[in-house]
């Protein structure tokens, strides 16, 4: 599976939540190509095509990023800020999916340009339903932006 053909980037450090999310997405046949990043740094590497993900290219972004807020190394809001603040990545659909109930987290997220914000239900079943609905919405209903070809600051298209 080429690193460039990822449908969903799932950024979450909770193994249980990751498990549940993957299961929900797979049973709905929504996405085969899911990449899991366990911390903010890996998410950044992935989206900005650096470090271990230097082979990736900016013009094949994931169709959807499911992003948790509380992450090791670099937290979700920071990732969001960077992604939405850079012309090469700002069009990527980023959906926050978090257990945080803080209103200010939500407001910040929307202000930073999060495409939408989901609060993880405590109930497993509800959680699954939410993931399924989100997956369906962002992968089927939504029209994602197409090739995101923006010149690399160094002058070359990556």
């Amino acid at each position: 599976m080429s690193e460039n053909e990822i449908d969903i980037l799932l950024v979450d450090d909770s193994p249980d939540d990751v498990e549940l999310t993957l299961h929900a997405l797979r049973t709905e046949n929504l996405a085969n190509r899911i990449f899991v990043a366990r911390d903010g740094e890996e998410a950044m590497d992935f989206l900005f095509c650096t470090g271990p993900h230097a082979q990736r290219s900016f013009d094949r972004p994931p169709k959807l990023v499911l992003l948790d807020l509380k992450l090791p190394k670099i937290d979700g809001l920071q990732v969001l800020r960077e992604v939405k603040g850079d012309a090469r990545t700002k069009n990527v659909c980023v959906v926050l999916m978090t257990s945080s109930r803080e209103e200010r987290d939500m407001v910040s997220a929307y202000n930073l340009g999060a495409n939408s914000y989901l609060q993880k239900p405590v109930d497993f079943d509800q959680f699954r339903k939410m993931v399924k609905l989100a997956g369906l919405y962002w992968l089927v209903v939504n029209r994602p932006p197409l090739s995101n070809v923006v010149p690399h600051p160094a002058g070359q298209v990556k």
Binding site: N111, N115, Y137
Partner: protein, 145 residues
């Protein structure tokens, strides 16, 4: 207890607005639906100017692109540039399938882009998906002042 949802539809085609309303009724949407027919009206409504002094800030905006007076992208840009409006999710709801329109919408901060389907069944099903996701799953930002 959460207050009723409020949806603003911005579309210059009254037939499409009526269709959207029918679709929302069909999927048991219990919230409010308001509509305006052009870009200038949309911004007046959102900024509560003139006739719209008593308008309620919507929880979600369904925005068509081809609008008279100020087109959809201009409305979008204005919304996302305004600190009081930028957090309101905007769903572009347009017949255009041009990749330039889609890209441009995302660049200006649209939350998502949905193509208006050509046939009734799909239209209804599309509205249902929108309603279910945005009013069923999503945590919407507080309306604020």
């Amino acid at each position: 207890m959460k207050s009723m949802h409020d949806l603003l539809i911005v579309d210059d085609n009254p037939a499409d607005i009526a269709l959207a309303r029918e679709a929302l009724i069909a999927c048991a949407y219990k919230g409010q639906v308001n509509s305006v027919g052009d870009g200038a009206e949309a911004l007046a409504y959102l900024c509560r100017r003139g006739n719209y002094a008593d308008a309620v800030k919507p929880d979600l905006v369904l925005l068509d692109l081809n609008l008279p007076k100020r087109d959809g992208l201009a409305v979008l840009a204005a919304m996302k540039a305004n600190p009081e409006l930028r957090r309101i999710p905007v769903v572009i709801f347009s017949t255009s399938q041009l990749s330039t329109d889609i890209s441009r919408s995302y660049e200006l901060g649209a939350n998502c882009y949905v193509s208006k389907p050509g046939n009734l069944t799909e239209f209804f099903s599309m509205m249902k998906s929108i309603e279910e996701f945005w009013f069923g799953s999503v945590s919407l930002p507080p309306r604020g002042e």
